[in-house]
Each structure stands twice: as structure tokens, then as C-alpha cells.
Subunit: 297 residues, 4 copies
């Protein structure tokens, strides 16, 4: 099933491309890139740039959305030609088509709010991606997911079957999806698995990281008596809850809120934060540099 709204959107975006560049800062980068696009007859729709620490040499980041007629047929040549400029400025770069939707696998355990939110954004056309599959260590959400035409894989996980489960995960997703969303998936992902998807696995952690790393963050927050709770969407790296932060948000709480209240309030923060992060990821708005993100939102 393809959401109706997304379909209309895509036709309008058939010739839309997104260029992401990061390189050492030096004069002339913008001039070279914009001249290249102009000579190609492309029309720049939006452009965002950022220079990190300009005083100390600096790193230059730019994201450009542009329209190019007959993009589909010309993109190979475009990339080949651009690679010369890229080489000159030592760029890391990518050019992607807006019409080529990223394929997502969503992993979920028992709590459904983050999954529901992503499905709602997808159905309403706000999440411009293809949901290739939902994988869960429980079976509860099968009906809902399958009723939307999305494949559902129930892969139980116990201490004994953890390695086997992950092998099956890998079989399902490898070469088949562009990104993996941990929508409150309560199992730890192994370093081996992560290596296959560097900066392509997005997790939602139910605290304002780096506060309350690890398990039961709402209980930790209640115990510490904080007056604000939060949630954090981040790329998954080997370090537990330590990967590059994509988005965070918070909500005010008080002494009146017990752990269950914090969980209830927290669910709203989690789903909003995760949806934003996934959205930015699929629209190529996030560049990871070391352990931080540059987000051109």
C-alpha cells in the first residue's frame, strides 16, 4: 500500500536531488559548487551551510536541494562530473534523488506508541519513506501492521536465542533496507550487527541523554527528583546510549508525577522525537561528524 498523499508529492519531486558535502574549509567551495550546478542548468531550491570552528582551519558542511530536468537519466553523468570538484576540495559527498524513497525496517517490542506514530506519519504522507518491514520479538502488533500491507516478522528473543535471532534479523534487512529504526526495541544490538549499518540505525532512548544512560531511565529520573524529563533519538554505536544525538526534547514534570506518570508523559516525548529524527534521516538532513550530528532541519 502506498499512501495517497506521498504519491502526489513524489511526482512533483521527480527531478529533485539532494547534495550533501563535508570537507575542510577553504575559500571558493560555494563558488565552485554553485557554478557547477548553474552550468548544469540546475535550479537551487534550498541551501544550508555550516562551518565548524572557522578560526582553526574549520570543516565545511553544505546541503543543497536542487531541481534538474530529466534527473533520472542524467544523474550518472552528474555524479561523474561532480567527482572532479569533490576531489579538488577533498569532499565527502553524496547526491540522492528525493523520489527514491529510503526503505526502513522498524524494530519494536511491546510498547506500540513509537511504531504507531511512525505509521501515522507514513500514512499521512509526512514520512517520505517506504516501510519495508516491521520486526518484533512479540506478536501483538501483527494484525495492525499487516492490515497496512507491511510484512511483519515475529522473531522471539531469549538469552539462548539472541545470536540466532540477530542472524535472522540480518538476513531480513541486509541489502534490503537503508535504515533500521529501533522504535522502543528493548534488546541490545550487537557490535557485529551495528557494523553493517554505520550511522543507519536510529534508536529512541527514553531520557535526556547523557542523563540516565542504561535501563529504567524513568525510575532513575524519579529517583533523582528532576523537574524535567526528556527523550533522545541517536544513531546506535558500540557504546550503549553513546552514539551521535540527532534530536532531543523535554517536558516539565513535578513532584506529583510518579514513575508511571513519567512513563506516560515520556511516551509523548519519545514518539515526537523519534518521528522527527527519522524524518530528517530519510530526507538526508543529517551529517555525522565524529560523535556529533549536523542537522539541516
Amino acid at each position: 500500500m502506498v499512501p495517497k498523499i506521498t504519491k502526489q508529492k513524489n511526482n512533483a519531486l521527480a527531478n529533485r536531488a539532494r547534495m550533501l558535502v563535508s570537507c575542510p574549509d577553504q575559500p571558493g567551495i560555494v563558488a565552485a559548487v554553485s557554478r557547477f550546478l548553474f552550468d548544469y542548468g540546475a535550479n537551487i531550491i534550498q541551501s544550508d551551510q555550516y562551518t565548524m570552528e572557522p578560526a582553526q582551519g574549520g570543516l565545511f558542511f553544505i546541503r543543497i536541494e536542487f531541481d534538474l530536468e530529466d534527473l533520472d537519466n542524467r544523474r550518472q553523468q552528474l555524479k561523474a562530473d561532480f567527482s572532479k570538484i569533490a576531489e579538488k576540495f577533498s569532499m565527502e559527498w553524496s547526491i540522492t534523488r528525493a523520489s527514491r524513497k529510503k526503505r526502513l525496517a522498524i524494530l519494536v517490542s511491546k510498547e506500540d506508541h513509537c511504531l504507531l506514530e511512525l505509521l501515522w506519519h507514513w500514512q499521512s504522507g509526512d514520512l517520505d519513506a517506504e516501510i519495508a518491514m516491521v520486526i518484533s520479538n512479540h506478536n501483538e502488533m501483527r494484525d495492525l501492521v499487516e492490515s497496512l500491507g507491511i510484512p511483519y516478522h515475529h522473531i522471539p528473543v531469549t538469552a539462548d536465542t539472541k545470536a540466532e535471532a540477530e542472524r535472522r534479523h540480518l538476513e531480513l534487512v541486509k541489502g534490503n533496507v537503508d535504515a533500521i529504526i529501533l522504535a522502543r526495541y528493548m534488546q541490545i544490538i550487537s557490535p557485529t550487527f551495528i557494523e553493517h549499518f554505520p550511522n543507519k540505525i536510529i534508536n529512541i532512548h527514553h531520557s535526556f541523554l547523557p542523563a540516565f544512560v542504561g535501563g529504567k531511565p524513568y525510575a532513575q529520573a524519579h529517583n533523582r527528583g528532576v523537574k524535567i524529563i526528556g527523550a533522545t533519538a541517536h544513531y546506535v554505536t558500540e557504546e550503549l546510549d553513546g552514539g551521535p544525538i540527532i534530536e532531543q526534547d523535554v517536558q516539565r514534570v513535578s513532584h506529583r508525577d510518579n514513575v508511571d506518570d513519567l512513563k506516560r508523559i515520556g511516551r509523548h516525548i519519545e514518539r515526537t522525537v523519534l518521528a522527527k529524527a527519522v524524518n530528517w534521516h530519510v530526507e538526508d538532513r543529517v551529517i555525522v561528524h565524529e560523535n556529533k550530528t549536523v542537522v539541516f532541519s
Copy 2:
């Protein structure tokens, strides 16, 4: 110098009292307290209550503001009579007069924004306290403070003179002030000093605790790539940055903000959060229970 607005306010509040009570929960507490006040002819202006964990026995907290005619002359009798009820319900309690302003000592180092904020609230009548003195390990703010008629004590602190400095601090404040405000005072207070002012020293920490405990929190925040920064006002206990949290607030930041930007943005959060916490403290709105606060704001 007494701010004009505060003076007017106080006349209106000459008969206003504030009762703070915490005790094990049981039926009949509110009935007993409200009956007592009614029999005395008092008029309840505001009342806030909270039961912590009612299912497991529970702890009961209540704050009542009431007006009682001729309060000044009758308060000793009022307290003596109330102590019988308090005993019956094993209450910890206090009754204070709104017209009896708390005396504050403000400690400050080089950064002046928190001090300026408190002085502004005080001058505009929003901070209902007496600023008994400002103590600083620097001399820069003497003119400003003295021009407002507030004594200024310059007590330099070096590694060698730390103990001596603290002795002089104690001499100045002991028996002379009700609370001590660390308005970006960048020296660590010793456990011995803290013992003299349990839950009466308020510090502003420039991070969203428990994230970024200790020094240079904005550098830590920048390093971790957080998308939101914050500040925390808390009572000072032996554990560094570990005391009961009174208030916190946050502000959104982005990859564009370097450490200096975070400091600049943070200054606004710090001054607002500290001013709120001090305000609640002087109006007897905070009850500390173990390492948490109940704030009847």
C-alpha cells in the same frame, strides 16, 4: 534601602502566615488542621497538598497560607496550641509570618548575571527577601552593590587561604542570614560549612543535572553534541551537584552553537532558574524530603 513596592506589599501581608506540614498519611489530617484554623478565626487563602505514594502508607505534605487578625501578638499562642495536633499526627511543621522577610547572603564570583537578576527581582519587589550582604572572591561588583545600600565583602580565595576564607564567611553569615545563595560562586563549599545551613544553601549549576556534573558543563555539553542545554537550582549537600533539585529549565541549541554560544544562552537559563528557586524558598514553598523537593509553586 527597602524597595518601595515590597513595602506596600508587606503592609497588606501583616497578618499573613504560612504553615508547612509533612507527616505520615492517615485519614483526618486535613479535617484536624482546617478545624483548628477555623476555630482560631483564621481565613485560608491558599492551600496545596500532596500525598506521596498513597498506596504504600504514604507521606502527607501540606502548605497553607492563611490570614489571622493580630497575628504578631497571637503567633506564640497559635504555635503552642498547634503543637498538640502536630504531636498527634507526628508532624514536622513550621508556621512563619509572610511579613518577616528572610535574610539572604549572596555569594558570587566574576560572572554577574545571576546576581544582577536577583537584585532586579529584589528592586522590583518580586523577590520578597532582605539581601543582607553580598560576598565575593572578587571586587568588581562592589560599586553596584553598595550603591543599592547592600554591604559588600571582598574575601579573596586561593588554595592556601581557602579554610581561612570560609571561616570569615561563617563569621559573617552565622546567626545573621536565613539562606545563602551561590549565584555562580565558583568555589566548592566544605561539608563543615554546609552542616551549618542544611537545605538553606541554594546553588545554580550550569547544566541539566544529573547530566554534566562537575566543571565546565557547557564544554561537556558541546562535546556530547546535545540539542538542548539547561540549568539546575538545587540545595547544596555534601555530594557535589547531587543535592535536592528545586528547579530546572532548558533551551534548544544546535550544531551551530559553539561553547561560547552555549555559555551565552545558558546565562539566560541560569538567572531565570535561580531566581525562581530563591523566590520559592523565601516564600516557604519548598519542602525537602530525603533527596527530593516538594515545590508548592
Copy 3:
């Protein structure tokens, strides 16, 4: 279908009652009410009070949650006995059982986000109400709603059939529901209909009222160049978008957001604000006084 979580919650709340009182302020109200409950053997779980303009006579509002053993059998007597106190203090009052869920009719047009949000809260047990029916002038959401076991009534509305449609609405809801939720129902409700449900119809308006009353508020907002947009949940009165405000919230926007962006951002605000307002209503947390609300949230 009854959501599982709600069921458990209700058993725990079988003896929970909620008392709402408003009356002219005078000494002794709290003493009388709390004494009454104590004599009855009730246990006060939570109590919130507020005095409006205490200096000018004042109006007193209180909400008390209490547990009373065998509530179901004793509530008639409880009410009869309380009415004597109520008379003495000229109270407007109600005592309701927490276990007796309010029945809601949800009216919706084409945009589904507010309906979906209410259904999600209901399924997760956060909305403690019974959804008696969904009524729509469109047929799109029938499958979803009926799959949850909720009756769906498709009542088309044209200029010619408006009166007839409203007659059918009334037939469905009168005596059958406790409140009506306009979850982005894009038809104007007639004064005659409103009279049957005073302060019992909740609408979500897609602007920060009183800014942008009437149609196309996001276009109005874009046109005015505001930097923040909002949504408002309010009780429906004869005056269009003029009834008592229950809840509002806002979100920051910029010159980059066109009308479609504002609509997309606004949908998130709308669903959150409406869900909060409905939640407070069904938990008897809202008292309407003239054209304002007192919300004991």
C-alpha cells in the same frame, strides 16, 4: 471492546469518588467539608483548591478525590447528607464515581489526526472514558473505527440537509452520551444543539485563540507572519470560537514555513491539546465559571 489497561485501573478505583465544589468564599468551608468526609470514614487522596479574587469577597473552588469503602451502595446517602452542608455554604457541587466512565461521542470530518490520537489514548488506557460512537460527515474512517468495536455513523451534511443532519445527531447522542468531542469536525453547531450540552461540547480550534478566530486560521497566521502558532481546546458556546478555554499550546515556526508546513506542525499541537482537554474533562478536573475555566490538572 474494553481496553485491557483501563479495566485493571477501574478495579483499583471502584471506591474512588470525585467532589467538585464552587461557592462564595467564607471561613470554614474546608473545615466543614473535610470534617464531613472524615466522619464518613473517607480517605482524601488528592485535594486542590483555588480562591478567585479573595480580596473582593471571592469565589471558592475545590476538587477532592477520596476513597470510600462500599462507595456504590453508600453514595446516595452520602449525597443526601452532603446536600445539607452544600446548602449552608450556597455550593454548586457534584460527586461522581471514578469507576463510572463518561460516554463520549466523537464528531469528525476528513482530517483524522485528532480522532486517531483520542483512540490511541483510549486504547492505551490513558483516556478513562467510553467512546460510545463516532459520527462523521464522511465515510473514510468507518473501517478503522468499527474494527475497534465502536459504532460509526455516517451522516453527510450539505447546505440543504444541515438541519436534518443535526436532528439525527441529537437523536443519537441525547441521553446517550455525557460529552461531545469535535475532533476537527468542520461544520458549525447550531445554538439549539449546544443548549442540550452546556459546557459538554469540546472543540479544537486550530489557532491560539483569540488570535485568528473563524476559518482558515493557518492561512491567517501565515499572512500575519507570526513566529509561533497554536491550538485551543474550548467548550462550545453560541459565540463562534468564543467559549471557555480549557487548554492551549504552541510551537515555534519561521518564515521558512509555508501554509502547508503550518498545517502539518499544527496537527501535532491540535491532537495533543485536544487529548489533554478531553482527559481533564472526563476526570472532572474542569470547572467553568462565567467564560473561564478552573482546571485542576
Copy 4:
């Protein structure tokens, strides 16, 4: 008196320039501008662009910060050369030096919080402007202002002397200041005066415009029972409270807050919002288009 911090900053910014451009959208603008700067040997530090309604022809806006060696001596030539590009693309444009601080006149009545905030930002080096004078229809703030070395002009205003007062205002500011800040100046400015400073007079209105235009907005807000109050900084035009909005912010309130509370809470919003707007204005971050602003913050 020149704040110490600002002085240091300025030395670093001696060669920093800011270019603001708006023109009809068409391919090649960025290429032409960035090529021009590259050929001149300028180094782009930051660049922000925005295309309004790209589908319908569109308007293009760009703000570029760049460093150019020996800027002071070369800027006349730079402007002359750039005017050829500007002509080709029908640009409205400006190039200003960051080191050339804008001169401000601040007008204030009795409430001092907005003035104090601006002075604090100025002293701490966060407001990169010169405060040329403070004008007030009252005399209360003379000592404070003069103690900072800023000229203070007391010009009383009555119904009879209004025209004469404005004549004196004009005498003081015309040709002498770059912008005028109404920091809670409670007199209406005449259209004649406004004409001399198009989009150069910034006012802080104490409501979330367009809600509560005109007098006593906090009383209006209280009367309407809103749950959030706000403040709006805008350029002054002939239409009262109707000019282009630069910045807005809000704060949550409740039924407990009376008009005085709203005023107190509102003061914090007002000072923050005005300081931000003034800051953006003096850093050439605001472009006015028709009745809206593009803010490159």
C-alpha cells in the same frame, strides 16, 4: 563607556562584512554572488538563504557574512563592483561592516525591565551596538543611565505637549541614530515620525499579537481566560500593533494567575523577546518583505 568584551570582539571583526540581498528568484544568483566574493578574495563565514514560494516565480533572500582583508579601504570599490551584479538580478541589497556598530536610541516610560535588559546585554557584550541615548517621559532612570556614560533626555509628554515632545525627539535622533527601540514606551508614535525611520523602530508589545491589540493586553488576556500569554517585538508602522513581527515568545499561565501575576510573568517574556529582536536587527539579520520578516537568526 565601551564595554570591555565588545571591544575585544570588534578587533576580531575588523574585516567582517555582512551582505543582505533580496531579489526575484532565478537560476545563477548564488553562483554569481559566490564567484564575485571568491574573485575578491573574500572568505564566506556564514551564509543563509531562503526562497519564498519557489513554485510561483519566487523571491530569493540571502545573507552572507564574509571576511575581506583590508575591508575598510576596499569597501567602496567592493560596493561599486557589486552593484553591477545587483543590477543584473534586480537586487535590493546592502553591505555593512560588522565593526561599524549601529547607534540606538532607547525610549522608555516607567517600567524599567526592558531597558535594564538591553543595558545588561550591552554591558556583557552580547548586544553589539552603541547606545547613543535614552529618552524618557519620566526622570526615574536618569542616575542609572548616566552612571553608564549614556546621555539621558527627560522629555515629559502630556496631551498638550505631545507634538512638541515629538519634535524634540526628532531633533535628538535624526541623522544621529540608526534605530529606535521602544522599550515599553507608553506613548503612541505619530505617522510623521515613523516615516523618518521605516523598519527602524522596534516596539515590544505585551501580548501574543495579533491577540490583544491595543491597551491593557494583560487585562484582556485575563478576561479571555487564556492559558498562555506572550509578547511580540515588531517594527512600528502606521497601523497600531500591526507592523512586521520580528520575534514572539510565550509562557504558560493558569487560572491561579491574576492580572498582576500576568504582568509579572509577562515582564520576563517582554525583556527576552525585545533583546532578541534588537540583537537580530543590529546584526543585520532581519529583512522586511511587505508586512513580514525573514529572520536569519
